[in-house]
């Protein structure tokens, strides 16, 4: 299979064409899959905090999208936003069910590629990562979503708004409040230690 321009920028028009093609012939879905796998996986991974569940949910998102592709209509909402909305809903279901299980262990810190020059700095980075992830988990789902889309996905306020169904201005305020909330949580942790 040929990669559909993995990291390259593709226009909304190209997305629309890919979706139309996939509606006609489902095998064409591969191109959309290759293009958005990393984005969807990143979002889910940061929301659930472990690799196994992130893979399970990512699989569900793409199968769901494949099955319900006909329901997607290009009405100004990009395909990526549609996928992320599916991901968000499935993650919400997962959290609802996970509430009955014990809390998840964050294995995220170990999987980050660390560029720290010394082992001490590397260890410190790992602690910081763990600290950040734990503080993030204390935020509301909406705030976590805003921060992940903004920083991990590098999306613009307008693009985040398309996923969350909010205006760019509302997203800007939400990101700002989320940052403030995260900062106060990190401060509390620091003071406790």
């Amino acid at each position: 299979m040929t990669a559909a321009g993995g990291g390259s920028e593709m226009t909304l028009y190209e997305d629309g064409a890919l979706v139309a093609q996939a509606k006609e012939k489902r095998e064409a879905f591969d191109a959309l899959y290759l293009k958005y796998l990393k984005k969807v996986y990143t979002y889910i991974y940061y929301r659930v905090g472990n690799i196994e569940d992130a893979e399970d949910i990512t699989e569900s998102v793409f199968l769901h999208a494949l099955i319900h592709l006909d329901r997607y209509q290009d009405r100004g909402i990009p395909f990526s936003a549609w996928l992320l909305r599916i991901a968000h809903n499935l993650v919400a279901n997962w959290h609802r069910n996970a509430g009955r299980r014990r809390s998840v262990v964050l294995d995220a810190a170990d999987s980050i590629q660390d560029s720290s020059p010394t082992p001490e700095e590397a260890a410190e980075s790992r602690d910081d990562i763990r600290e950040l992830r734990e503080a993030m988990r204390g935020l509301s789902a909406e705030r976590q979503q805003a921060l992940i889309l903004r920083f991990a996905e590098g999306m613009k306020h307008r693009e985040i708004g398309e996923v969350m169904g909010k205006s760019a201005g509302a997203v800007k305020v939400l990101v700002h409040r989320s940052l403030a909330g995260l900062r106060s949580r990190l401060s509390e942790r620091e003071e406790r230690e």
């Binding site: 299979m1 996939a22 012939k25 489902r26 095998e27 064409a28 879905f29 591969d30 899959y33 290759l34 796998l37 990393k38 984005k39 996986y41 990143t42 991974y45 940061y46 690799i51 992130a54 893979e55 990512t58 699989e59 793409f62 199968l63 494949l66 099955i67 319900h68 006909d70 999987s111 980050i112 590629q113 980075s125 910081d128 990562i129 950040l132 992830r133 921060l147 992940i148 920083f151 991990a152 996905e153 590098g154 940052l179 403030a180 995260l182 900062r183 990190l186 401060s187 620091e190 003071e191």
Partner: protein, 101 residues
């Protein structure tokens, strides 16, 4: 802030929070084995037109929509009738009838 070194302070500030988010909240690369497996799964499912037509929900045609709306209206008719009857009775009872002068 030059963006490469973490600003250190006793209390975690806005800049430090932002620094942590920018440096530790990075895009994640899924396991190549997993992505290959899922890619094949999508490809196989996509190619299976029979399975596909079985799974696909029936499209909402305008005729079907009309049937649903019509059904809902007809189902509601007895309740609407009863509601109108009791409302009518209530209004008749409230009507002031002058008796004598």
């Amino acid at each position: 802030m030059n963006g490469t070194t973490k600003p250190r302070a006793g209390r975690v500030g806005y800049r430090e929070t932002l620094w942590m988010l920018r440096h530790f909240l990075v895009p994640m690369e899924p396991d190549p084995v997993f992505s290959k497996k899922l890619e094949e799964l999508c490809h196989d499912l996509g190619g299976d037109e029979f399975l596909w037509s079985e799974w696909e929900p029936k499209a909402y045609t305008s005729g079907r929509k009309g049937m649903i709306i019509g059904g809902a209206i007809f189902s509601a008719l007895p309740f609407m009738g009863a509601g109108a009857y009791f409302l009518g009775r209530y209004l008749v009872r409230r009507r002031v009838v002058p008796v004598g002068i």
